[in-house]
């Protein structure tokens, strides 16, 4: 597996394990991109990858991804609780602790995935009516 980069700018173009036709401005390196960057570049001096996107560009990409994750987990939690809330409100049957524990686990998993995107400010949730 090789990473193809622009030899002039260091911009990461793509990676491949098959033989491709390199253009004049392209070189291949053995290092592989292992960290998720919005606009990855290669530093020829330090031999490392770095983020070339601005914070605005990062937010433009990451917030929709975070929103997608949020909505997915919101759906899972709503489905998990729907029947139990019905039982609680009509029959007065308490929600089982195992269900509440599962809800906390799903919320933690959701937050972990969003933090992994590099987002620490969750204010975008306030602008979405479903969250």
């Amino acid at each position: 597996m090789k990473t193809i980069i622009d030899s002039n700018t260091g911009k990461v173009l793509y990676a491949t394990s098959i033989e491709t036709e390199l253009q004049e401005n392209e070189i291949e390196i053995d290092a592989l991109l292992t960290e998720s960057f919005v606009n990855p570049y290669w530093n020829f001096d330090t031999q490392t990858f770095y983020e070339g996107a601005t914070q605005t560009e990062i937010n433009d990409v990451r917030i929709p991804q975070a929103l997608e994750i949020d909505l997915y987990y919101t759906g899972l939690i709503s489905e998990l609780l729907r029947k139990h809330i019905e039982k609680l409100s009509i029959d007065g049957i308490a929600i089982p602790q195992s269900v509440i524990d599962e809800r906390y686990r799903l919320r933690a998993e959701c937050n972990q995935k969003i933090l992994a995107l590099g987002i620490t400010n969750f204010s975008y949730r306030q602008q979405n009516l479903k969250l």
Binding site: M1, T3, I4, V12, L13, Y14, A15, T16, S17, I18, E19, T20, E21, L22, Q23, E26, L32, L33, T34, E35, S36, P40, Q65, E68, Y72, K113
Partner: protein, 191 residues
């Protein structure tokens, strides 16, 4: 030739026609409908160890393979080891490279681990209608879907030269493995 032999021969001819599904007018009939033929298939390639956009498979359609008027069918059956979204992109290029390639499809996979990505393109000479509005909008399948109410995207292709259809993926983490179960390019000749 005696009359009984002639009658026997006629019966044998009739039975032969029934077995071969041919008409009494003589000659073998062509199979009904335009033939759909496999041009190239590729299987088993994987992407792992990087989160960069990576070529999963590249399929060569040799020069002059396409007919002047034909439908092109491109498929990818895949498996991924993560529940996170992974974008699948399909490019067209005249060389085996992503440099200068035209993106013609995108699907951002959901949480499910397996899927079948299908595209039908309408080829007329050097134009290829993508039967979709924006090829950078996520779509699993562009067949059997509702009508689109705006012009579809048409790109220019060069079927007299080699053509490459390249699938790429960008894994969410280095531990994810994305597998190409089978990718195909087929054509259906219409003229």
């Amino acid at each position: 030739m005696s009359k009984s032999i002639q009658e026997r021969l006629k019966k044998l001819e009739y039975l032969y026609r029934c077995l071969c599904n041919t008409s009494s007018g003589g000659g073998t009939e062509e199979p009904q409908g335009p033939p759909r033929r496999l041009i190239v298939s590729n299987t088993g390639s994987t992407v792992t160890g990087t989160v960069a956009e990576t070529i999963l498979t590249s399929m060569l359609v040799p020069a002059n393979t396409l007919d002047a008027v034909c439908d092109l069918f491109i498929t990818l059956d895949y498996n991924k080891t993560t529940a996170n979204a992974i974008p699948i992109r399909l490019y067209y290029n005249t060389s085996n490279s992503l440099a200068g390639a035209t993106q013609i499809s995108l699907y951002s996979t959901g949480s499910v681990r397996n899927g079948g990505f299908n595209r039908k393109f309408v080829v007329k000479g050097t134009s290829m209608d993508l039967i979709t509005t924006v090829p950078t909008t996520s779509q699993l399948n562009n067949q059997f879907v509702d009508a689109i109410f705006v012009p579809s995207t048409v790109i220019t292709i060069a079927p007299t030269g080699n053509m490459f259809f390249i699938f790429t993926v960008a894994n969410d983490t280095v531990g994810t493995t994305f597998t190409n179960k089978r990718a195909t390019v087929e054509k259906m000749k219409l003229s």
